[in-house]
Symmetry: C2
């Protein structure tokens, strides 16, 4: 008998693992319109599509209860799934929330978590329709599934961009990543001097970006109002560079992103400098901003160019032209992605 080989998951990475697994599955139901490989799965539902997205948050991997309040965490667990529905140009309508909790949690702690879920249900107009509650011998586990809907002619996949489409991003970038650095530093200070109060006022915006993730449903509604249908869309959970690569790969195009167009908040910039981190690296590779990255036809540029919360940061070009970053001094260099590795 041949010896069994052991391959480490680390060597494959999350995307490699998903690819390896999903290759072995084929869809057989006519109602399955699109499966693995976009922000949400797409199912036929008469006149429209249903969308399903799911995300799991694990203590010690995705959050640290020493600084993430349970209410914020409940909100965030819903928001990251709503963000996936938004990235399909869809409207979220239902969620299920499953939690695994150890008995170190009191009822009050669980209620604080669900208070955040409730705030999110109100903010995004979604209904909590099910879930599972169980004990966990290890840390806190939260698994949320969101169900949404979208008109068949309004759905946006990652693969719909065309050559010379304009690349747009909402909000500002890198804030959630810098917020995490601030929280980690304050945690260390606290562990060394438990009597000290953390100084977070100054970093208020950044801490909020990390702890109070918001899904850009406002943009989905506004684009509809402006009669702009993005040609391709994705949400930014792993960083702008990595997500733009998904659009490139699936649309079989290259991309050019301008350094001087990247939307970076002053607080992000200043604090990055304070931490000796390049603000541009934060904007390109910092994860968890949950902004929307999308492409539009050039004809639609006039409709969105004055929107205060949408930045046009580049354009799509032929695949052979590569994935490029144009620096302030007009050098064109290769765009590098270093997504968040959870393995």
């Amino acid at each position: 008998m041949a010896e069994e080989k052991r391959t480490e998951i680390n060597d494959l990475g999350e995307f490699g693992l998903i690819k390896r697994i999903s290759e072995k599955f084929t869809n057989q139901n006519p109602s399955t319109v699109f499966g693995i490989g976009d922000d949400a799965a797409v199912m036929d539902c008469g006149d429209e599509y249903k969308l399903v997205s799911t995300d799991m948050l694990l203590e010690g991997v995705h959050f640290d209860l020493s600084y993430a309040p349970l209410t914020h965490l409940g909100f965030k667990a819903v928001a990251v799934n709503v963000s996936d529905i938004a990235a399909m140009n869809g409207i979220p309508e239902q969620i299920t929330v499953s939690i695994g909790i150890s008995n170190r949690f009191s009822l009050q702690a669980v209620e604080a978590l669900y208070e955040g879920v409730k705030f999110a249900c109100e903010a995004y107009k979604v209904d909590l329709v099910g879930g599972d509650t169980t004990s966990s011998q290890a840390g806190l586990v939260i698994s949320v599934t969101a169900v949404g809907r979208v008109a068949k002619d309004k759905i946006t996949y990652r693969n719909g961009a065309s050559n010379s489409d304009i690349l747009c991003v909402t909000g500002d970038l890198g804030g959630a990543f810098i917020g995490l650095q601030v929280l980690e530093r304050e945690k260390q200070v606290f562990l060394e001097n438990p009597g000290m109060q953390p100084e977070l006022e100054k970093y208020d915006y950044l801490v909020k970006r990390q702890l109070k993730a918001d899904a850009r449903m406002d943009i989905v509604h506004e684009l509809a109002d402006f009669d702009v249908k993005p040609t391709a869309m994705i949400d930014i959970s792993d960083g702008l560079a990595s997500e733009s690569f998904h659009l490139c790969e699936q649309s079989r195009l290259g991309v050019a992103i301008y350094e001087d167009k990247l939307p970076i908040a002053k607080a992000t910039y200043d604090t990055a400098v304070e931490f000796n981190i390049d603000p541009i690296t934060c904007a390109l590779n910092g994860g968890e901003d949950y902004e929307l990255l999308f492409t539009i036809k050039q004809d639609d540029f006039e409709k969105i160019k004055n929107h205060p919360d949408i930045a046009t940061i580049g354009y799509m070009h032929e695949e052979t032209k590569g994935r490029k970053f144009i620096t302030k001094n007009e050098n064109m260099i290769d765009l590098k992605a270093q997504g968040w590795k959870h393995f």
Copy 2:
């Protein structure tokens, strides 16, 4: 300031916790037909309903990797969700599978898990359309969501039973519980004498009942073929008694179950006796059988009475008549439920 009170989740139990949480939520989307409180949530989808169910399995709580093979586990994680769709008289079509794994797992281990998922996808004709893979600092976590469909006039809720409806159950009961006892005993023997091989052949059926949970989609299809629409239905994950109480509560009825009608396999009976456990207690309170418990109109009795895998075990009566168990010697005693407590 008043002192904060700490309430233990143990004191509430899982159903108490779900009730307490769900009371604070109200549904606002017209597409939400039914939320928390049945085997699956129900959403409007044009001519039919979509069903959504979710379950989370945690290592050390729901399974023990020292005897649960990963392939079986992958199958079971899907089957328990398919069983929830079956309990609504629905057809499952899509699943999402999220896993949290520590790096003690090799790629081969993850592939073994997904091999089980694939077997289940083939057995139940469902498509794997999404999920999430992440590292876990603690044990293995598997969270599955199933999406199904059902014609609007074919859906079965827990609350649809009427006075004098006949109570039916599929398959046989208590086997999964006794199978677990066998596995736990063999594990102890192995821990004390690591050189010994476990003797499981004799308990083959019971071990399969525990490790290879099967959802009764065959019965859903057969009832449709017989033109029998159950008036109420639920799947048995927590034990016959506990599940019959859900039918009673939601249909506002009482129930009478006959001891001598309970379907118990010979292997279950004999092994229960070997373990000094009352076989009837196993049948009433042993969990994880994933059989279907349902009520039918008396007029439908003729259609199913010769079905080899459906037992008619009792009937529904007025709520004031209570929840009764009729022993072999015709004593009518109160039926007691002791569900599986995960807290």
